[in-house]
Symmetry: C2
């Protein structure tokens, strides 16, 4: 082994303006929260903070669900925790796929051993409640799993009507709201959602690494029926009508509910610093007020879209179903998308996003999320992008973008 | 829904001295690292930090393993990631159980569908290489999985001889080093370990929420053979001789290796703040020097043990195989363990640990880990414990403990 270990320099990340599809810059108060002193996991102050986090996220999710807590991992960990805790091998799950993250739901459900049916929608569109109802009648799923805001296409899947359909047909309804939460409406109880998972690193304005989750009483009951684990029982040998154990320990939401509940049964050691961050994200959101925060996201998104359009750039996807907090814009034919992104990063310290799959090389994705859903971020990004595009001789209309965006900030 | 959402007070955790079995107080520099600015996940600075983290943890683990990285979750997530990525349903795993966390390995392996054989050791003892060799010959496992330092019993399982046995018999060797790493010797390459997982919240002096993992080339190869996932294949229908897909997406180490490797294939969004913390923990360890840090833990542990013994208290378990960083001490018959712990917390702000299972109510566990493996923490804890025990009329020898501990700090 190399014993002359390089220690590297003192941590000193550059000050970037993160205007991509996330992660984004955290609110300053979240940075402060992250650096606070650690306390023991059963310290009454710590369990008090855990209770507060539950209460705060009930506010964020607009729910009365008792079972509202954090999963200790990135947003993806929350998705897997929900799917692996609800779905048993052979269970039927219906998944509307409006973009890349719909495929992720399929990927996870497949590893659980579920039987999957997808509703495939063209990228840039959303799924209708009629499509869902037809598929439910035909397929009779246990669960409908979907993504609310899919950053890969910038679309925001409407959920209220789908929730009504699921409720009427007795189908559990789960949604991954990582990219949409706090920037777009999300009414868990009103829309009959049984399970929602999220992340901090988009409109909640925190770092990646903690996943808020909420479960309806019905969903918690379905999961708790799988709690009992007998020695020697294997998930692989599932019998019809018998609830088989959850195939993950870390993602066993029945155990995680007991850890967050009054029993305080030891499971993992709660990630204290990330819990501090999650708590502060929720406080910021509720303090400003959900309607105000969502309106601020819409204002920033509309201003950005108007600015880009004024420049002569074309926007991607159905604008009537777009998320407030991220948009796709076609890369002008005359320029290379990655060159422009590189120049933005190196000359202005501004990050905008590339794209996945069928949209790769065709569109950029620009986000206005959380702390960055502000006038100065929108205007600076437009001014910087315009100047770099002009440098590379893109055919755009100069001097229009910032003025158009300013119209949204009288 | 209750619309009058309580926002709760500004985060202001009390300053505790955490002298339990972990989590413990983080090094001040780790708090600073946690609060640094966020950057994008494919920012060259970020991928540079990821490469540095890999290099730094090779130093911490004393390995040349290319595959050294973080799993985004608590220490338990690293354990599950390793076990679910190596073990297929029906695979044989041999697990020496020296305490509670050995049972956790069984619990996780069972959910994967592995065939488990345990070597059960009385709490307070460790397992011998002879016991392991006998069991390997008989059971022919694919993997031997064990815990190095098990805080439930305070024992430190010797690994070098077991590694030699595993190597000779062609058995993969995994160890959970969460509680022992950075406070006790751990030589991954020299001891023939194929996989090790850890956590930050013990002797590395960071918060819970990130799990450093290292894999030998052989182990990485075993895992990578399971990488290919075909649509429709279910882990539940495993055929003899066919490598079946890993049953978790989040814990699929083949995918996580591709995310940390030069391909940078998108998986989760790396938890930036926790990565900053993990980087700083490793820098602190390597800067002070592994031998110096481990000696500091031994000095603190020995001083604490001598102080408690001088008070007239009896220590738990075989002291010759005890971890440096945590000890068990019998609660005097005259007092209630939780009352004393409560008084320590409320009057001195000092936390010491209770115990699990067969030791519950019988011993306290006191840790001297990471930043708290210091003279002032040891002496303060002894002085505080003595004064509270005297208040509750425990039959101890007053005025001896601190003096005995000071002998270790000339």
């Amino acid at each position: 082994m190399d014993t002359t270990q390089t220690l590297f320099e003192t941590l000193n990340p550059p000050q970037r303006l993160l205007m991509g599809p996330g992660p984004i810059n955290a609110y300053p108060r979240v940075h402060q929260a992250l650096s606070q002193s650690l306390i023991g996991q059963y310290d009454p102050v710590m369990t008090g903070y855990m209770n507060q986090v539950q209460s705060l996220y009930r506010g964020v999710f607009e729910t009365n669900n008792q079972q509202t807590f954090l999963v200790d991992g990135t947003a993806r960990s929350g998705i897997e925790a929900v799917l692996v805790s609800i779905l048993q091998p052979g269970d039927k799950v219906l998944i509307p796929v409006i973009g890349r993250f719909g495929h992720l739901l399929c990927e996870i459900a497949q590893r659980v051993g579920a039987e999957i049916k997808t509703i495939d929608v063209e990228w840039g569109q959303v799924c209708t409640a009629e499509q869902v109802e037809t598929a439910i009648k035909q397929f009779q799923p246990k669960l409908l799993a979907t993504v609310q805001g899919d950053t890969s296409t910038t679309m925001n899947q409407p959920l209220a009507d789908i929730g009504e359909v699921c409720h009427r047909h007795g189908v559990l309804f789960y949604c991954d709201a990582t990219a949409s939460i706090a920037g777009n409406e999300l009414k868990v109880d009103e829309w009959h959602l049984d399970a929602v998972s999220a992340g901090l690193q988009k409109c909640l304005g925190g770092p990646s690494g903690s996943s808020p989750v909420t479960l309806s009483d019905l969903c918690a009951e379905v999961i708790n029926r799988r709690k009992h684990v007998e020695a020697g029982i294997k998930a692989a040998h599932h019998q019809e009508g018998v609830d088989c154990p959850i195939q993950s320990n870390y993602f066993d939401l029945a155990m995680i509910m007991d850890y967050w509940g009054p029993e305080r049964l030891n499971h993992h050691t709660e990630a204290t610093s990330m819990l501090y961050a999650a708590r502060e994200c929720a406080r910021l959101f509720l303090e400003e007020g959900s309607n105000t925060v969502i309106a601020r996201h819409k204002q920033a998104g509309d201003a950005l879209a108007a600015g880009l359009a004024a420049m002569g750039l074309r926007l991607f996807g159905d604008q009537s179903t777009k998320m407030n907090n991220v948009l796709g814009v076609y890369i002008p034919d005359e320029v290379d998308g990655d060159t422009i992104r590189g120049e933005l990063l190196n000359r202005f310290g501004i990050e905008i996003g590339t794209s996945f799959g069928p949209l790769h090389g065709k569109i950029w994705r620009i986000g206005t999320m959380g702390y960055n859903a502000r006038q100065e971020c929108v205007l600076t990004t437009l001014a910087a992008l315009e100047s770099i595009l002009l440098k590379y001789r893109a055919k755009i209309a100069p001097g229009q973008a910032v003025a158009a965006a300013m119209e949204f900030y009288r």
